[in-house]
């Protein structure tokens, strides 16, 4: 009788309860493993970002020498018109401004110190003068913080030759040499000396390149996705196209660089290093990602919405643009964000189409030579001068911030579209 009861109630046996306990244990373990994975990724991320920020802070500073400059005694001449003319800096150079700056530096810092003033330091003074010509009549000396040579900068950091270290500590103790916050880093371009480099040239190059990529890849990708999902007949040809697009998304990026080199630069040989060609190359790489995510987003739109729209007499185009596209847009934007973020960080294809050139002035338009942030980082990390190490970290921080900004805008747009529906 007892036996019968046990058999008829298999869920009340000790074995069953043991199995139940085991099942709960398995669930707990699985949850713990998942939490462990999250904690690990967050820790790695924090370490990475923290490390970059710590190094990067140094990159946003530079060693500068304090030089009082007396314009009234400088012997420089000029008036409001000549000092605001585009050629003003050349005019000042002709008047021997570099020597004048050197003279004042010798007075303040001694011969040894003045020799360690950066060759281009006078340009900072010239820039101040051209932006405010009234300075020329100033009788009081104006204090300028001018960039030191990279030798002296490494001396200040406790590296380099013993003589330089001694000179640096002497000047620093007199308050004439200091690490100052370098806002100019955000507005200058590439240079040969780490003391004179800036990120603006590469940042602007990246922005221009991304604009081209977005303008080409987004509409083409979305239209291709819409056509393939909504209109294309399902046959061998569309299967072939689908396979090709999927393959294209998996092609290593350097291959796209070769394509850009062989095709785009063959057609426009004068546009080597131009953001236009870079953007076109990256658009090729980004488009398949947008097509694939776009198609998935369109597939996720419930067929009942299409039926509902068709049943009130909407034409197929109206169904697509009034119903399918607005519902699929958030998903499409997500794919676009992923594609664009990948394109922003891409180095290899751009090296091949010549965007690794030394470009000392920021690009003025889509056709002028430029470099982009990741390539700039790659180039600086290759430099021998120790000063470039910190500058590289600073450039990485800028790249990450740019990425963050781009993603935030995209996520904002995505949420906005999701809300209106």
């Amino acid at each position: 009788m007892n036996n019968m009861a046990d058999i008829s109630r298999p869920t009340r046996t000790p074995q069953f309860e043991a199995r139940l306990a085991k099942r709960y244990r398995a669930e707990r373990n699985f949850k713990l493993m998942g939490q462990g994975a999250i904690v690990f990724s967050v820790a790695v991320l924090i370490f990475l970002l923290g490390n970059m920020l710590m190094n990067g802070i140094g990159g946003f500073q530079r060693a500068e020498l304090a030089v009082p400059f007396n314009f009234a005694e400088s012997g420089l001449t000029g008036d409001e018109v000549s000092l605001t003319a585009p050629s003003a800096v050349q005019t000042l150079e002709m008047q021997g401004m570099a020597e004048v700056v050197h003279f004042f530096a010798e007075e303040a810092l001694g011969t040894e110190g003045a020799d360690q003033l950066s060759d281009q330091a006078w340009r900072d003074v010239a820039a101040a003068l051209t932006s405010d010509p009234a300075l020329l009549s100033q009788t009081e000396p104006v204090l300028f913080n001018l960039p030191a040579s990279s030798d002296l900068a490494s001396g200040l950091a406790g590296e380099g030759s013993p003589e330089m270290q001694a000179l640096a500590s002497k000047l620093a103790s007199e308050g004439k040499l200091a690490e100052n916050w370098d806002w100019g880093f955000l507005s200058r371009s590439d240079a040969t000396s780490p003391q004179a480099v800036g990120i603006w040239g590469a940042l602007k190059g990246s922005i221009l390149t991304m604009i081209i990529t977005l303008v080409l890849a987004f509409p083409i990708g979305i239209l291709a996705a819409l056509y393939l999902e909504e209109y294309a007949p399902k046959n061998r040809w569309t299967d072939l196209i689908e396979v090709s697009i999927n393959n294209l998304a998996a092609v290593p990026s350097i291959i796209f660089g070769l394509l850009g080199l062989a095709v785009f630069l063959a057609v426009f040989p004068n546009l080597r290093s131009a953001p236009l060609i870079g953007g076109m190359t990256l658009a090729l790489m980004t488009m398949p990602v947008i097509v694939i995510s776009g198609r998935n987003a369109i597939k996720a739109v419930p067929p009942s919405i299409r039926d509902g729209a068709l049943a009130v007499g909407a034409s197929p185009v109206q169904v697509v643009f009034h119903h399918v596209l607005p519902l699929a847009l958030p998903g499409m934007l997500t794919g676009t964000i992923i594609g664009m973020a990948r394109a922003l960080g891409e180095t290899a294809p751009l090296l091949l189409i010549g965007m690794r050139a030394f470009v000392a002035t920021p690009p003025t338009d889509f056709m002028s030579p430029a470099t982009v942030l990741p390539v700039q980082i790659f180039l600086w990390s290759d430099e021998i001068d120790r000063g470039f190490v910190e500058r590289t970290s600073a450039a990485i921080v800028i790249l990450l911030l740019f990425l963050l900004l781009m993603n935030s805008v995209a996520i904002y747009l995505r949420n906005k579209f999701e809300k209106t529906w």
Binding site: P233, D307, V312, Q318
Partner: protein
């Protein structure tokens, strides 16, 4: 062959006439030579077990089967003398004349107002905003929803309850002022109270529109329709006045189905 009850009168008022309509899904014949008349004078119900092809047949009347690439329809369906299945038929215009309500409520994820206004807008039925407002109010009133939603026309249509959503879909179909309304199991996803409201609504709308309703529920067919067609395995087995079909079926299969022997 379809058995047609003798008590049925020749439908001189037929708005749509289906003649020998067959539907093929690839090789499979889903509907086998069905002929029937649809009129605004009575509500027509299609009943039958799952998979008998009644929904497939219904979707022929506004050519919704066009969205299924492998579906092929033969025969003829006339709407006031014009062949609906012909190549010259403008499908967009057809669907404006023959509205449809689906099994699952499918309001657009837009405001209640936009849901109703969408059809009239794309067909250019309203010149001014005031005209559109009038159409929205009239359609919602006819669908018995106006009192419930008049203060929140800007709320999303998807925020309504299931029964309200279905009445919204009926209002959406009414808004373009169709001649025929096809309903594909409109109450199968709703609770009894919401179902009762939909049935009341069908009653009120009959006469103004030619209504065809596909339903699983024989009680529903008995309550709302005046003509019933019984489908089985792609064939229309029996067609006649609803009361005759339910009280005095000719065919053995019909009798078995309505007495619950299978289905």
């Amino acid at each position: 062959m379809t058995r047609i009850h003798d008590t049925i009168q020749a439908a001189s008022t037929a708005l749509m006439k289906a003649r020998d309509v067959s539907v093929f899904y690839g090789e499979k014949k889903a509907i086998d030579e069905v002929s029937i008349d649809i009129s605004p004078d009575y509500v027509t119900a299609f009943i039958g077990p799952s998979g008998c092809g009644k929904s497939t047949f219904l979707r022929c009347f506004n050519r919704m089967n066009d969205t299924i690439p492998i579906a092929k329809v033969t025969g003829a369906i006339e709407l006031e003398g014009e062949n609906v299945l012909g190549d010259t038929m403008d499908v967009v215009q057809l669907r404006a004349r023959v509205g449809m309500v689906f099994q699952k409520p499918n309001p657009f994820p837009k405001s209640i107002y936009e849901n109703i206004a969408y059809g009239p807008k794309i067909h250019g039925l309203a010149e001014k905003k005031a005209d559109l407002d009038a159409i929205v109010e009239k359609s919602l009133t006819r669908a018995g929803l106006w009192e419930e939603v008049k203060d929140r026309l800007d709320d999303s249509g998807t925020a309504l309850s299931g029964g309200q959503q279905q009445r919204l879909c009926i209002a959406r179909a009414i808004a373009v002022d169709p001649e025929v309304i096809l309903m594909d199991e409109p109450a199968s996803a709703l609770d009894p109270i919401a179902t009762a409201k939909i049935e009341e609504l069908i009653d009120e709308l009959s006469g103004r529109y030619a209504i065809v309703i596909v339903t699983h529920s024989m009680q529903q067919a008995a309550r709302v329709s005046q003509r019933t067609a019984f489908f089985h395995l792609g064939k229309m087995v029996e067609y006649g006045p609803t009361s005759d079909i339910f009280t005095n079926p000719i065919e053995e299969r019909t009798k078995d189905y309505i007495t619950g022997r299978y289905g």
